[in-house]
Amino acid sequence: MNDFSSGTQAIILVLFTTLVTVTLLMCVMAGPDRDDLANFYTGYLSLTPLKNGLAIAGDYISAATVLSTTGIIALTGYDGYVLAVSTALSLVLLMFLLAEPLRNAGRFTMGDVLARNMSGRAVRIAACVVTLSATLPFLVVQLSGAGSLLTFILDIPYAAGARTACIVIVGTLMIIYAAIGGMRGTALIQMIKIVLLLGTSIVVAALVLNRFDWSPGDILRAAQHGSGAGPAYLQQGLQLGTSTGGRLDFVSLQITIILGVACLPHITMRLYSAQDVPAVRRSMSWAVGTVTTFCLLVIIMGTGAAALVGSQHITAADPHGRTSVLMLSQVLGGAPGSAGAAILYSAVAGMVFITLLSSVAGMTLAAASSLAHDLFAHAVRRGQAEPRTEMTVAAWTSVAVGIVAIGLATTVQNWDVGVLTTLAICIGASAVAPALTYSLFWRGFTRTGLLAALYGGATCALLLMVFSRAVSGTPSAVFPHADFDLFPMQSTGLVSIPFGYLAGWLGSRLDHRRRAADSREQRRLYEESEARLLAAAE
């Protein structure tokens, strides 16, 4: 597929090395002091709203978003457009609903928000478990994707070990970024990434439009033709079918995405590093603006891939179309072997590489922070840990999380694990979103309710996912030949989101009935902290 001369490979290798060197240097220079927790977790609140906004957008646009969304648009057209819209709107919803109270309530991790009025280690442990269960699948899916992408980009012939080597290299880099850079270091990498990503995407989108003389009608006609689907390309239904069940599944998936993506811990974590409420608002404005621009560009790039590459070639390289951006850049660059082709392809490859690196680093940091702060410092040491110890633990948990993720990713590298992205988003929507909305806005929320929402929502999403059609029963499933698809959908949101909210509500009602004194105390604590929650008053 990848018919480039060794010259292009050399350019790409040099580019990758440069990117790695520059980002590593920046990480080391921006790294926190040895015993300053606030510096490690939030970077001293020293980022300007613009920078913080770019970092949020960088964390938000993961490699999965860039590659899968382009692929889905290229292969399914309209369904992909809806996906791009829901991805952008999820961050908007985070900004409108949660961002400001979250910033006021939180300190370093999601556990700080949830446990602010609730004593006891169970809350911290639950927060940590849910953070891990939402970030680890996402991390694994991106790392295992990194293996196949890098072998594709560098045109390494498929041999046992080549992918594993790529996964290990990317994983090692990600551990270094997270452990050394902390919040500030990864923020810098996210900023570099988002600038490169936006710049390259603008160029690619402009080239696509230019190819069709800036006429949307021509592109759409060519895309309908190239996709082989004809007019169906511009109608809902190519992704999950047009049966009643398929349509319900589609609605469910979109709702899950809009509620779940922005709630994932590695994104909410960036909000705590804003200086004050107006700053978090401005940061989110920048982030939403960037993400929305990017989603518009993705629509153009995906449609361009369908029009110029054609879905046959795309699915031949990857059934989910994750390589469609790269193939699009090959087509756009002009004749194979020309300088333009080499430059464009290298630029897009570099963009994909840095996107992969930065998104896995951000997720590792979120998981490691939760382990160090929620589990170690608060649950094991009951809040008595020395800052210095906690920092060391945070660095080592980054290493541990990274190694576990590398191990899992190499194990599953030959499977089709795109379903793990859905799982992470479902857990975000059915466990994290209920817990955060209740905890921030409902004064009657109690400890049992919180634990029920976190564990109940996550367990429900996980169980349903295992028995869903994304795991077995369909040709595109993880186990296409097995058949235990008791839950006839691809995503679990339709059931698991109401379940998470219901569990939180029922748990709290149970507390009101059984432990009236405790829940009154909880309510009093909420009311006492309300000035801090709404106005950041101390």
Partner: protein
């Protein structure tokens, strides 16, 4: 989406641990220009004995917070419901009225695609609108609540 915090509840009288003498400014609790001038608070702080007898004063703080709470709630509800509602309507229409969404607007561009891209474009305006309204409705109230809380420490320090 429902918020369980809708119910009006009796505001706690002993809130925030702020001694009553600091609730005493004869000032309007509403978003007057609260500058950062500590001096003003100082002078009001010294007038405390004069103001103290006002029995209703402890509620001043709650009034601020209540106003802030409802301002936030209104903003949150309008913006969230608009964003979520428009998207849900869009997805449902896409799924269950493909004929309508497939109708051509201009050239190859169908209504569904146009609405999708329109939502993305409108997002910029919505974010701008949200920032503006939050600045106008919420920020002054939040500043008021914050400055009620902060002078406690500051005045206490100066009194010593």
């Amino acid at each position: 989406m429902t918020y369980a915090d809708e119910n009006r509840y009796p505001p706690p009288a002993q809130s925030y641990g702020i001694p009553p003498r600091h609730e005493t400014y004869g000032q309007n609790p509403w978003p007057e220009p609260y500058g950062d001038d500590a001096a003003r608070y100082d002078s009001y702080g010294r007038q405390a004995p004069w103001d103290a007898p006002y029995a209703h004063e402890p509620h001043r703080d709650d009034a601020d917070l209540t106003a802030l709470r409802s301002a936030y709630r209104l903003l949150r509800r309008i913006s969230t419901l608009t964003a979520l509602g428009s998207f849900v309507v869009y997805v449902v229409l896409s799924c269950y009225a493909p004929g309508l969404m497939g109708s051509k607007v201009t050239g190859e561009l169908s209504l569904g695609m146009a609405l999708g891209i329109l939502q993305l474009v409108v997002t910029f305006a919505a974010v701008f609108w949200y920032g503006r309204s939050a600045q106008r409705s919420v920020d002054p109230l939040a500043r008021a609540v914050r400055e009620r809380a902060v002078p406690t420490g500051r005045n206490a320090g100066m009194a010593r």
